[in-house]
C-alpha cells in the first residue's frame, strides 16, 4: 500500500463537501451483525466514508455461492468472513479501527458486543435471525439507532427498495416482501441497493448528530 497519511485520507473524504465530514465520521462507531451480502457491502461503503470504528460479527465462512453478491473474492473462499472482511476494508481505509469477531450473534451476547456502538446494523440472511436481533436491540438497548434490511431478493425494479422509519430509532430498508425462499435468488445489484439504503441511513444519522453537537 502507498504511504497515505490520515490527513491526506481525510482531505480526500472531505473533498467536494462544503463542511468537514471526515472528523465526524472518524468519531463514529458502528456495529454490523452479519457479514454477507448486506453486511460486507455496507461495511465497504462505511469504510470509504471514513467511519472510525466498525464492530463486525459473523460465524460464517466464505463460500463460492457467496461471490454472486458479497464483497469477497475467490481468494477468500474457505476463510472466516470475520477475518476476510477486515483485510479488504483495511485496503480501502487503513484508519478505520475494526473489531471483527467470528461468532454467532445471539440474544445473550448482542448487548455486550454492541454496547459502545452509536448505530447497530442488522444484516443477517434468515428472517428469524433478523427478528431476533431487532427484538433484542429494541428491548435491551432502546437508546440505540438500529437499521435493518428485509426484502432484497430477486431482480425486480430497484425502486421497490425503500427506507422506512418504523419508530424514532428503527429504520427498515428493503422492499419488505421479496423472500429468497420463493426461489427468486439473490443478485448483487439488488442486494447492493438495499445495502446502499442502509449505509446512507447510517451516514445520515452520524452527520446529523455530528452537526448538532459541533
Amino acid at each position: 500500500m502507498k504511504g497515505i497519511t490520515e490527513a491526506e485520507f481525510a482531505q480526500a473524504v472531505d473533498s467536494r463537501s462544503d463542511k468537514p465530514i471526515y472528523s465526524i465520521m472518524r468519531s463514529s462507531r458502528i456495529g454490523i451483525a452479519g457479514l454477507g451480502g448486506l453486511g460486507s457491502n455496507i461495511a465497504a461503503a462505511l469504510a470509504r466514508s471514513g467511519v472510525g470504528h466498525l464492530i463486525l460479527a459473523d460465524f460464517d465462512t466464505v463460500e463460492l455461492s457467496n461471490i454472486n453478491r458479497q464483497l469477497y473474492t475467490l481468494n477468500h473462499i474457505g476463510q472466516k468472513k470475520a477475518e476476510a472482511l477486515p483485510m479488504i476494508l483495511h485496503e480501502i481505509n487503513p484508519f478505520c479501527e475494526i473489531t471483527s469477531l467470528p461468532l454467532r450473534v445471539t440474544a445473550d451476547n448482542c448487548r455486550e458486543l454492541f454496547a459502545d456502538c452509536d448505530i447497530i446494523i442488522e444484516a443477517f440472511d434468515a428472517p428469524e435471525q433478523k427478528a431476533m436481533l431487532v427484538n433484542t436491540v429494541l428491548e435491551q438497548m432502546p437508546e440505540k439507532n438500529l437499521i435493518s434490511g428485509s426484502g432484497m431478493a430477486g431482480f425486480g425494479n430497484a425502486n421497490a427498495i425503500t427506507t422506512r422509519f418504523i419508530t424514532e430509532k428503527l429504520t427498515l430498508c428493503g422492499d419488505g416482501k421479496t423472500d429468497v425462499v420463493d426461489g427468486v435468488g439473490l443478485t448483487a445489484s439488488r442486494v447492493m441497493v438495499c445495502a446502499g439504503h442502509m449505509a446512507v441511513r447510517a451516514v445520515e444519522i452520524i452527520l446529523q448528530k455530528g452537526r448538532k453537537t459541533s
Partner: protein, 63 residues
Amino acid sequence: MVTINGEPKAADGMTVLELLSSMQLKPERTAVMIGGEILPKSDYSTALRDGDEVDIVSFVGGG
C-alpha cells in the same frame, strides 16, 4: 378499533398471537411495536386494547 401499520382494524380483544395468525405471519419472524415501544415476545398473549397503535414488521429472508 386498533391501528395496524396505519390502517384501522377491529382487532381489540384479540391477542397479538391471534392477530399475527389472522395475518398469516409467523411470530418468530416478527417485531411488534405498540405505541412505538417494542412488545416483548413474552407479552404476545396480551389482548389488544381500543386505541392501540400497532406496528408489525415481518421479516423475509435474504441478505
